[in-house]
């Protein structure tokens, strides 16, 4: 076993041995390294002031970079990676990076506190190459909040950042960096101990099973976009943490004609391509799911495993008929994903078990699928209501319909009475009305800060109606985003 965390801080090799495994990268930067350019704005991954860039070998001799939130990232996750902060952007002679120059030239900073985070998000976009359009900029910056500028000058800076001549030193050194990091690649489990706290990062499914066999009650850590908050917000002490993010077998995406299987450690960002291609509406929902930083860390498996009633992906997966595979001491078991969610905060996961993958069946050519996310703010908001529908029609009648809802009960769920009401009925105005009535009757939403129960119930019913309109009148204008793009 390896007992130290090794990574590149900029281009400098670091090895940490005596470190609190639940210390965040932001704390390490600011408090241990006095690298105060990276800021804390919220400590929950919602404001982006702490954005840093993580690099890892792309497997083809180069590097792949992604923006993440340092405030909810635990230090051991840096193992084998390169950490870049706003302090690393300048050229050899101290010259500002094009992103920084564009931000100055376009008056993209006012108070300046959010600025390093914006710079790092844009730096990650810059490294991706290609001149971004407005949509891509909006998506890139959805997880960076600015309270001063109103964003216009930042968007202009992003549009202009490729106008500056620059030979990016990070990109220029990528091959060497990849080589150095590849040399760090572990073949064994990283095992840290610090003042009674333990942290394990196995690299194989066998290793994971072994660790969980010894620590069946450990906290499973995937992207940390939820577990990180247990520490930074709820101030919990996590005694034993097992990180599944390095487990090779959990990273695969396998596609065939029947469907797509997604490993539990695949991030939302990685899953977006394939899901968006197969289920365009799911892709649109994932685009609005949290932020780039969160999607770059958070995993589909983690989102499912923790079973939040308002997690955006579950209603969609439920409606699509996804199946979940768990693995554990007693072997594998598979279940319809909706069966995993037992009650608020309770899931069907036994001690020592972990979510291995989720399998999503393909859509038939005669099937309709739509999903909808309703939130106060369009981007990077947790939904008040999420609804998804999968429908098979024949001669104007419903052969089969599956529904999935979030935000309307203690768990993500189907609406079985509504499905029964609709199945076999004519897919027409009167039929869908009966469905809406059944839906309003069987959902049990609550009132909270995101929405009232009345609104949730009403919207859920009207989303079914919207689905009806969209499946029967393709010309109807029903999406404000499309209208915004058209105007």
């Amino acid at each position: 076993m390896t007992d130290s965390v090794r990574f590149l801080f900029g281009h400098e090799m670091r090895e940490l041995r005596d470190v609190d495994p639940t210390r965040t990268v932001l704390q390490w930067l600011r408090e241990d390294q006095y690298a105060t350019g990276t800021k804390e704005g919220c400590a929950e991954g919602d404001c982006g002031a702490c954005t840093v860039v993580l690099g890892e070998p792309d497997g083809e001799g180069g590097m792949r970079y992604r923006a993440v939130n340092a405030c909810i990232l635990f230090v051991p996750v840096l193992d084998g990676r390169q950490l870049l902060t706003v302090e690393h952007l300048a050229g050899a002679d101290g010259a500002m990076h094009p992103v920084q120059r564009a931000m100055v030239d376009h008056h993209g900073s006012q108070c300046g506190f959010c600025t390093p985070g914006f710079v790092m998000s844009l730096f990650a976009l810059y490294l991706e190459g290609g001149r971004p359009d407005r949509q891509r900029i909006n998506d890139t910056l959805a997880g960076n909040l600015c309270r001063c500028t109103g964003y216009r000058p930042i968007v202009d800076a992003a549009l202009a950042m490729h106008d500056y001549p620059w030979d990016d030193p990070v990109r220029a050194r990528a091959a060497g960096t990849a080589e150095r990091l590849t040399a760090l690649r572990r073949t064994d489990t990283l095992a840290l101990a610090w003042q009674g706290r333990r942290y394990f990062a196995p690299v194989s499914a066998d290793g994971l099973a072994r660790v969980l066999g010894e620590h069946p009650d450990a906290t499973l850590l995937a992207g940390g976009t939820d577990v990180g908050l247990w520490v930074t917000k709820r101030h919990m002490d996590l005694d034993t943490v097992v990180h599944v993010g390095d487990v090779a077998e959990l990273h695969g995406i396998h596609e065939d004609a029947d469907g797509v299987a997604i490993g539990a450690a695949v991030t939302h960002g990685e899953a977006l391509d394939v899901l968006g291609r197969r289920f365009p509406d799911f892709g649109e929902l994932l685009r609005r799911f949290a932020s780039v930083q969160i999607r770059n860390s958070g995993t589909l498996g983690g989102n499912i495993a923790n079973g939040s009633p308002i997690g955006d992906s579950m209603p969609v997966l439920i409606a699509l008929g996804a199946r979940l595979t768990l693995n554990g001491p007693d072997g594998r078991r598979e279940m319809p994903i909706e069966d995993y969610f037992i009650d608020y905060g309770r899931q069907d996961r036994r001690p020592g078990e972990f979510v291995e993958r989720v399998w999503i069946p393909a859509l038939g050519g005669d099937e309709h699928f739509r999903c909808y996310k309703i939130s106060k703010r369009f981007d990077q908001d947790i939904s008040a209501v999420c609804a998804a529908f999968r429908l098979r029609l024949s001669d104007g009648r419903v052969v089969a319909i599956r529904t999935g809802f979030g935000g309307v009960a203690a768990t993500p769920r189907r609406a079985p009475r509504t499905e029964r009401e609709l199945t076999g009925a004519a897919w027409d105005e009167a039929g869908v009305r009966r469905g809406e009535a059944a839906l309003a009757a069987e959902l049990t939403p609550i009132t909270d800060m995101r929405a009232s129960r009345e609104y949730r119930r009403l919207v859920a019913a009207q989303l079914l109606h919207k689905f009806y309109i969209e499946t029967t009148d393709p010309q109807a204008r029903t999406r404000v985003l499309a209208e915004e793009a058209a105007s």
Partner: protein
Amino acid sequence: MSETDTRRGNPGVNVARPHDSAHKHVSGSARYVDDLPEPRELLHAYARLAERAHARINRLDVSAVDGGGVAAVVTPEGLGTTNDIGPVFPGDQVFADGEVLFYGQPLFAVAAGSIDAARRAAMRAEVDYEDLPAILDVDAALDADADLLAPKRWRRGEPEAAIEAAPHHLEGRTYVGGQEHFYLEGQVAMAVPQEDGDMLVYSSTQHPSEVQHLVAKVLGLPDHAVTVETRRMGGAFGGKETQGAQIAVIAALLAQRTGRPVKYRLDRDDDMTMTGKRHDLRIDYRVGFDDDGRIRGITFMQAVRCGYAPDLSHSVSDRAMYHADNAYFLENVEITSRRLRTNTVSNTAFRGFGGPQGMVGMEHVIEEIARELGLDPLAVRRRNLYGVDERNITPYGMTVEDNILPELLGELETSSEYARRREAVRAYNAASPWLKKGIAVTPVKFGISFTAKHLNQAGALVLVYQDGSVQLNHGGTEMGQGLHIKVAQVVAEVFGIDLERVRITATHTGKVPNTSPTAASSGSDLNGAAAYNAATKIVDRLLPVIRDHFDVSTDAAITFRDNAVYAGGRELASFAEVVRLAYFRRVQLSAAGFYATPKLQINEDGTGRPFYYFAYGAACSEVVVDTLTGEYRVTRVDILHDVGRSLNPAIDMGQIEGGFIQGMGWLTTEELWWDEHGRLMTHAPSTYKIPACSDLPADFRARIYERGENVEEALYRSKAVGEPPLMLAISVLHALKDAVASAADYRVAAPLHAPATPEAVLMAVQAVRGTVGAGVAAAQPEVAG
């Protein structure tokens, strides 16, 4: 400075300059309080917050707090001096003293080696509460007659009679939500004990002098023993005008107890829970009007949620009254203001300071009138605008002397193609049953000056060194608004030197004393004028030296430009050489400057001339609304805003655009939500939604009104810009109302209150269709028709 002509090729003012710290912002090298190198033996503070809205504290036992590296615990009993930090009136407290007045009120504070250690220690204390009845919103406060401050009323003419006599009348009510500042940098202070018991405090505050005064008061020290320094804030927006004091006081108290430096930084949740916000209001009105929509008589009752204590609520409520007219002449008018006590956080300053809420009330009435008469709301707005030479006296007796709104509105109406687009919106809606568009134009008239007259003063200290470099100090603070660069531009202009020769410094109570808060949009007007005064004093001392040394006759003009001094077009010497010359002649090269705003006259009841001048603007917003879900997008915004003659168009544009988006957030997605226990549940960005990048309208056209010029002799004829643009966003609320009203063929006004969340919009759609709760089914005939 009569003698010099400072107009030149490379002007200091009226030119776009980047923010002075921009290169540091983008490189992460701009230091905020939490970034300062930490002194030896630094302790971290944490305050335990109450978990009741209103309760008697029967027992507060901190005996379990000690240990684990805890260096000090400070409770209200242990203060020894005072627990009161009310900025004007008493009431705002350091700690709850025997009685909890809101959920989240600090109970006591701990200092330990780390924030985590301090928090864990504080949580070990035992608190026994005895619940008391709590008042949690304005309606409950009105029902209970819970006036925190005396009500206020202005009256002109005979409003009731005028309303009765008018051909049409309406009455109604609207609610205007509060707002969290959400400065990205949370509240923070670091107190460092000095010799003789003195205290140096680094504070993220808009008001260093008040922090100095309140720290001194609670520590039992004279003001001269406390020094406060503020280099910059990571945003403030009014939220650090008074709210920084409590943080600084707690840090200083613990520093005094321990003799060690103490830093107190709030995490986001505690910050949002325990610091004040924009006041939310209920506004009741009655109005009588003509067939063409002209208002004959009107009454407003503004019920203001002050929270548990006064803070600045009297002035905020006053400003809501001052802006109850927005841009409209109200001949017969009564405005009543109730300043109400609730068991919620003590509300405070927020960009616009009550003015925006007052304006929302007025614009709501305009909308109601327009729908009642079936008129275009813009036509009703135009009919009620203040006149230029008549119909130009405000309800508080001030004459509007420079009303440019008719002209400015006309220009915006043309440039935004309002008439054509309004027809296009109508046509779109007729063909689109589910998505509806809306468009609206609203004007802004905002009074500039502190309405507490004494605050309209400022000081500056300008130091010229022998090499001709200049250090600039003034009483204003930098929160991102670009104050420092503007004031530096003024000094560079006066001396005719490059901006880079002027060094901006931290605001420091030891350099400029008795300062006013950087607030009320007044920062550059006041501090720029004080710096101008200081710099011209120095120029006036240099002139005799120049005349004597270079033998320039008194009738020849001397000019400072291009880093040199000229007489009649002849370059005499560089600025640095002149300075050195003066030094050897024993001429003082530093000066304290001062400025007090002229013409202000405020009566006991607040009437008179509270404002030096008005800033104007207007905006046209267009939206598209989903009537099935209440979701919407703001698709296009046109803004025309008056900043007088802009000192720095880039900085001013930043204020205009940023203010608009912040105002849009206030009126749309930013919702403060308390549960039934009075606990704020929207206390982090995961639940409190300020605008994100994609909320910037896809088509956003903001322009500075080019003909703008201050009729008053304000700094280089510029106008204040900090607050007024926020209110341009009222056009978004009204565009949403327009879209909602279309769902019932514009026959009824949308009962849409702020914030217009998707939920509020959907419920308003349901209401105008007369089908609340019935869902799509009942809506269908209307839609299909």
